[in-house]
């Protein structure tokens, strides 16, 4: 294969991966952030202790985390069809990607929020701050560097998941690697795909680290 032949394959595949991961990241943050906050707030020694409810949430999160992504993707096909009306194509795979990443990100959010010292939380309580104010003005801003680091890890994991989605008809770089690298022995294209993924992941990780460092004032 020449570069002229590879480029029309690589470019759309990269765009598909970017779209899948981008949308999935957006929905993961929208759902996973509140879930992570809930895991901390409703904990036994949280701001609003509801231990039974927190255990229930934790259990659901653990189910999501214990299923291998490829199994989860197949298992929730009916749900995907319900949400987007189809189970193939890039848009359809945003659903399993989000479902797979939300529990993962929620646990990282939980860990980041727990890093915030109890002393600042209690200081805020002593100043008469409401629970909502403590979450919005203390927990989330203080944990921001950790949240950014968690998001970076999640995006990288999503790129990994999206390659698996490729094998079931989701398109993207994973799909390209399977069809050309595995089924047609196009070694050069395979190598280019691998390098491309490496570069994308490295760039994202460096960007995430840089932002987290900029936000940290320790």
């Amino acid at each position: 294969m020449t570069w002229e032949e590879m480029l029309p394959l690589l470019w759309p595949a990269t765009v598909e991966t970017a779209l899948m991961v981008g949308w999935a990241t957006l929905f993961t943050v929208l759902l996973g952030l509140p879930l992570g906050v809930a895991l901390v707030v409703f904990d036994r020694d949280g701001l609003r202790p509801l231990p039974a409810f927190k255990s229930g949430l934790g259990f659901v999160v653990n189910i999501g985390r214990s299923l291998p992504f490829i199994v989860l993707m197949i298992a929730i096909i009916p749900f995907t069809r319900l949400v987007v009306g189809t189970t193939i194509g890039t848009a359809a795979f945003v659903v399993p990607l989000t479902v797979g990443a939300v529990p993962f990100f929620a646990r990282l959010v939980e860990t980041a929020l727990r890093e915030v010292g109890t002393d600042v939380v209690q200081a805020a309580q002593a100043m008469g701050a409401s629970r909502t104010a403590i979450v919005r003005k203390v927990l989330l801003p203080e944990a921001l560097p950790g949240l950014v680091a968690g998001l970076t890890v999640t995006v990288v994991a999503l790129i990994g998941y999206s390659a698996m989605a490729g094998t079931l008809g989701g398109g993207g770089l994973g799909d390209l690697a399977v069809r050309y690298g595995y089924q047609r022995f196009e070694t050069l294209l395979m190598i280019v795909t691998v390098v491309l993924l490496l570069v994308i992941v490295q760039l994202l990780q460096s960007l995430g680290d840089w932002v987290a460092r900029r936000l940290s004032h320790k």
Binding site: G117, D119, V120, Q122, A123, A124, Q125, A126, M127, G128, A129, S130, A133, K137, V138, P141, E142, L144, L215, S216, H217, K218
Partner: protein, 317 residues
């Protein structure tokens, strides 16, 4: 100003507070002195209900806090400042942002907030530092930010949780001087807990000594010093305890340059040997304590004379 009665706090089977009564008058600096584990931190945290006591009531500025719901309690807490051993500043905010935090919580509009933050930083001697980050400041400066933040809501009461324990001696003195100034200028009532006698000596008007969840002794420093056998007196002065048999311990208050001892020796037929003694400068004035052995036929008369001169005379058996 602060009235706690019958406070009990139990964690499982551990009793942290075992029936504590605390009374802090308006405008005074009241210390709670005790070793770690004595329950003083729990006591302080019960005053603004960061810990809810198992039994007992807490009244601050005439309001029974234990009877309030969440919303009213938060409003009451906005009028009770608190400073912390490790400062508890938000690293995500600048110095000005930290001081503005309680004002945001109270819903003060932005322009008003900025004006007030400027005033507060000036009050604690940090003008021009508003844009700094907490990690760029020294320990003493961080505590000044903590104090400015605690004063934002114009509180009538300031609670200090070992506020100088993480600071070096010179910085401790400067923070204590600031607290004393705020007490005098703003009429701020301060309740502070500490394990350092030095803090009590330098700023407190009154003190409660705590051990094992109970208050062992409390009252104004001046009164306790005059109470024979008080724990406070024994702990302030570095004289060996118990006093050796037959010795007499004299406590002087007021002007330390009273020539009473030389008068006694001149007036009575006694021999006086000095066993030990020191003079301490307290917030309440200078106090001297002298341990002597008094021998001779007129020793009882000499002791009576010392008592009449206003000294506190304690005779060891």
């Amino acid at each position: 100003m602060i009235q706690a009665s019958g406070l009990r706090k139990q964690y499982g089977t551990t009793v942290a507070l075992d029936g504590v009564d605390l009374h802090v008058r308006e405008g005074e600096i009241h210390g709670v002195l005790g070793q770690s584990g004595a329950g003083k931190s729990t006591l302080l945290r019960c005053v603004n209900l960061l810990e809810r006591p198992t039994a007992g009531t807490v009244t601050v500025a005439g309001q029974d806090l234990t009877a309030l719901g969440d919303r009213d309690l938060n409003r009451a807490r906005q009028r009770i400042g608190m400073i912390h051993q490790h400062f508890a500043l938000l690293s995500s905010r600048t110095v000005a942002g930290n001081v503005a935090f309680p004002l945001e919580v109270m819903g003060v509009p932005r322009a008003e907030r900025e004006r007030r933050v400027g005033e507060l930083l000036e009050l604690v001697g940090l003008e021009g530092r508003g844009k700094h980050r907490p990690h760029q400041l020294s320990g003493g400066q961080k505590q000044r930010v903590g104090i400015a933040r605690a004063l934002a809501g114009n509180p009538s009461v300031l609670l200090s949780d070992e506020a100088t324990s993480a600071l070096d001696p010179a910085t401790t003195q400067s923070i204590l001087a600031l607290l004393k100034r705020l007490n005098a200028e703003l009429g701020l009532t301060i309740l502070l807990i500490t394990h350092e006698m030095n803090v009590v000596k330098s700023v407190c008007d009154s003190v409660a000594i705590m051990a094992q969840g109970r208050i062992e002794e409390s009252g104004s420093i001046a009164d306790l010093i005059r109470t024979p056998g008080s724990r406070l007196t024994r702990e302030i002065f570095p004289l060996p305890e118990p006093a050796p048999s037959g010795s007499v311990t004299l406590t002087f208050t007021g002007d330390p340059r009273q020539p009473v001892v030389s008068e006694v020796v001149r007036k009575f037929d006694v021999d006086l040997s000095i066993l030990g003694g020191s003079i301490e400068d307290l917030a309440a004035g200078s106090v001297g304590r002298l341990r002597v052995a008094l021998d001779g036929a007129e020793a009882p008369a000499a002791l009576a004379y010392l008592r009449d001169s206003g000294l506190i005379v304690e005779e060891a058996p």
